[in-house]
């Protein structure tokens, strides 16, 4: 009898976290995805240095990380889409619909960026995969 219980317990111990990861609702501590425009961005751009400080594509997930949070630490205002973000100012833009949203952005050498908003991962395999991917990204 004891011999049978051990593998069953082992199976439960393995399956429980997987089930939790697949079914438990995602409750993030914050829904903000923060991007900072560092001090000196404008000066470097004026000096002809075009290194990218923000990604060209930013991916957000509805209900999880769906607030784009931009912080302007530079000494000059930055324009993001129709928004003038003053030095030392934060701008938070919540998204409620999945899709691709192109924006003009002075912090990019190309002057453009795209915000990709994905649907919230559904319970089951998509949520399990999402959690696994997030874990991998964390260690990457």
């Amino acid at each position: 009898m004891k011999k049978r219980i051990v593998p069953v317990l082992l199976l439960i111990a393995l399956a429980a976290p997987l089930l939790w990861a697949a079914l438990a609702p995602i409750q993030p501590a914050t829904r903000d995805k923060l991007f900072e425009i560092p001090k000196g961005t404008w000066e470097r751009r004026m000096a002809g240095k075009n290194e990218e400080i923000l990604p060209d594509r930013i991916t957000l997930t509805l209900g999880v990380r769906d607030v784009l949070h931009l912080r302007n630490n530079d000494t000059v205002p930055q324009i993001f889409g129709p928004v003038l973000i003053m030095p030392g100012q934060d701008f938070r833009l919540p998204f409620e619909q999945a899709g691709e949203h192109p924006f003009a952005c002075t912090a990019h050498a190309s002057g453009q960026m795209t915000v990709v908003v994905e649907e919230a991962p559904a319970a089951g395999w998509p949520r399990l995969r999402w959690r696994f991917q997030t874990l991998l990204n964390h260690f990457a």
Partner: protein, 194 residues
């Protein structure tokens, strides 16, 4: 014992209420908010408009033009609907429509155009230089796009966001184009309560 229990329950309810997050605006928000750049301009009805004179009201600024057939009419209709849904509180919201096409948007045209949506909307137009100065203060660009096959007709590319100014005159939030009237009502109510 029963009183003690009631007291504990009331305390617990109070703590839960205090801990619940404050309702957030649905629009994009600035932190810290800066004072909205002043706008002093002759309004379409001939009066002198001064943005700072509207302290105590929530002001929504929309940049657009009367020949727009895609974005501006939809946003103005949403704002008119929001004012209806605010009911008795409609007076707390002042909509200001600022022309990005002053060459065609005469005061008379602005007045009759806006009246189709809501007679309470204020329209601002002026010289191209005056309107460009307002756009610059708000970080807005407007570009002419000639209509194919025409030498005179054109459309204007411009910001489609709504700019929310709170009762203290601070530029607090921007709402993207296409949000429903209920979102506008939600944010106006929150700002009006402060």
């Amino acid at each position: 014992m029963r009183r003690l229990l009631c007291g504990v329950m009331l305390l617990a309810a109070g703590a839960a209420w205090a801990a619940s997050p404050a309702p957030k605006l649905k629009a994009g928000t600035f932190e810290p908010a800066r004072v909205a750049p002043e706008i002093v301009q002759k309004a379409a009805d001939g009066s002198t408009f001064k943005l700072s004179a509207l302290r105590g009201k929530v002001v929504v600024l929309e940049f657009g033009f009367t020949h727009c057939y895609e974005v501006c009419p939809v946003s103005l209709a949403m704002l008119a609907e929001a004012r209806k849904r605010l009911g008795a509180d409609a007076g707390q919201l002042q909509v200001v429509f600022i022309s990005v096409d002053p060459e065609r948007d005469t005061p008379e045209r602005m007045k009759s155009y806006l009246a189709q949506f809501d007679k309470g909307f204020v329209g601002l137009t002026g010289t191209p230089e005056q309107m460009a100065a307002i756009r610059k203060d708000y970080g807005i660009t407007a570009t002419k796009h000639p209509t194919a096959g025409s030498k005179t007709e054109y459309q204007m590319g411009h910001s489609s966001y709504l700019y929310f100014v709170d009762k203290q005159g601070k530029l607090r939030a921007l709402m993207p184009y296409g949000r429903p009237a209920d979102d506008i009502v939600h944010d106006v109510k929150l700002l009006a309560k402060e």
